[in-house]
Amino acid sequence: MYLTDQEKAILDGAQGKAPQLAMEILAKIGEINEADRLIPISSVHLVLHAYKSAFDAGVDTAEKIAEMGGQFIVPTTIDPYGMDAEDWKGARTPDHYAAQQIRLENAVMKMGVVPVWTCTPYYGFNLPRFGDNVAWSESSAVAYANTVIGARTNRQTAIVDICCGILGKTPETGLHLQQNRYGEVLVRLKADRELKSWEYPALGYLLGKKLGSRIGVVEGMKGDPRHEDLKSLCAAAAASGSVTLLHIVGVTPEARNLQEAFGGNKPLEESEVTLKDLQDTRDAMCTTKDDKVDFVALGCPHYTINEIKQVHNLLKGRKINPGTSFWIYANSYAIKLAEKMGLRRDLEEAGVVIRAETCMIISPVASWGFKTLMTDSGKCSYYGPAECGTDIIFASVEECVEAAVLGRLPK
């Protein structure tokens, strides 16, 4: 890989230890991916964010890089906090866990992170423009940035992302290059109507399984999906597969038509998805036939203010069943708005718990002993069994709310 004189000087230590280490790592990553050079990026989004996924090695490494003088030179945001940021004691976070989370927080804060603690940085804090090169790690946000915004990022990974923030650069490979952004697989959606909200994450989950890391082009989507529908679709696809970019014809910016999505190339493979396939996918995402629900968890990716308001509307003043915990995960921005709008007060009076700036997957919930987690999230359905130790019921938000009121699935 070509390095400029300035980059070579950094590699020789001219700017200190942390930039030198960052350059060594990016040069090697660039070489593995056969990059010609490094390119400037306008932002970074980090995934070394929670003790639950960083572990002791991640905490130690973040501290080492901070002690070496690592400083972010481009806006650098970060994934959710590893425990309820407002009330980690009330969320039964073990003391050792909390202490390690605070060490990790201190290390990234020392390097100058913007502490958004969210998996949806694109809703307000870190919004790239069409065509911008960025270096993001959170898999759902990577899929959203490439698919919905038309910004350009590969799936960066823990610590490599820190290196990108320190240098403000990333290797020019993969989706940073136009020729690598065209569709490879054509998926014809056979639906005679607009998808329902739960069908978007189910479609994402199915696409992840079908596509792996290939770029899919979805033709036949009716109507005008909400931002939130695309958020849940991208998150599920990035969890069940390694989807980084989807083209949805007529919906996403690099797919105004089929020709544009494929860049004139022929599809390597074609397949169909029917509404029945989405129902079958939904059935396969559920790991239990039991109808008792002791935990409803929404907000993976983080719930927006629109989604919080929708839950408020669906509850219609009813109370959550005493045998069911109903938690909504959201970032500080949505929570602040929910407070201003009076939604938080009403929801809490109904028995809903707002968990701040964290989520069910990357905070410890094992001590609650939940048996069955019900969610409207395809991503949470994927990671829930391993990371929460529960069975999963995947359903629409409407069904989640009804189940939380009844304490079991509606008949």
Binding site: L21, E24, I25, K28, I29, I32, N33, V47, L48, S53, A54, F55, D56, A57, G58, D60, T61, K64, S137, E138, S139, V142, N154, R155, Q156, T157, A158, I159, V160, G212, S213, A239, S240, G241, S242, T287, Y382, Y383, P385, A386, E387
Partner: protein, 139 residues
């Protein structure tokens, strides 16, 4: 002994027993870093250990925090001895690179073999992996 050539990605030279899967693998939610045992119930290797083995699978998938899990597996001594992929993902390669930089541990990694590694290597085979030359030897 059979020799297969590939692309050396992360340096190191090891010889160990192979564990082979035809399914893509993600480290977060895939393996318990305290033991090296596969915890993803949907994966065909569920319940088996990758600790100290030459781990052979087609490609990475899932969460981008994977490099941190490989780093923790290194810290706990439960990392695979080597990784052989058909096509490596940056997340996996970064884990190997960090293991060397921060814990001075070699986890050689090789991809783009002249044969499909998932069929050329069987679970239980003794396999040598040279991450510098890219050569894989099946004994």
């Amino acid at each position: 002994m059979k020799k297969i050539s590939g692309r050396g990605l992360i340096e190191g030279n090891v010889k160990a027993e192979a564990i082979v899967s035809s399914q893509p693998f993600g480290f977060f939610g895939g393996v318990d870093p305290a033991t090296g045992i596969v915890i993803d119930k949907r994966h065909e290797l569920y319940g088996q250990s990758i600790k100290g083995k030459v781990f052979v699978y087609p490609e990475g998938r899932g969460s981008t925090v994977g490099a941190a899990i490989i780093l923790e597996l290194t810290r706990t001594g439960c990392a695979p001895a080597a990784i052989v992929n058909a096509k490596i993902e940056t997340i996996t390669a970064a884990g190997g690179l960090m293991a060397k930089k921060f814990y001075n541990k070699d986890i050689p990694m090789v991809d783009r073999l002249t044969e499909n590694p998932v069929t050329a290597i069987k679970t239980g085979d003794i396999v040598g992996v040279n991450g510098s030359t890219g050569e894989v030897r099946v004994f």
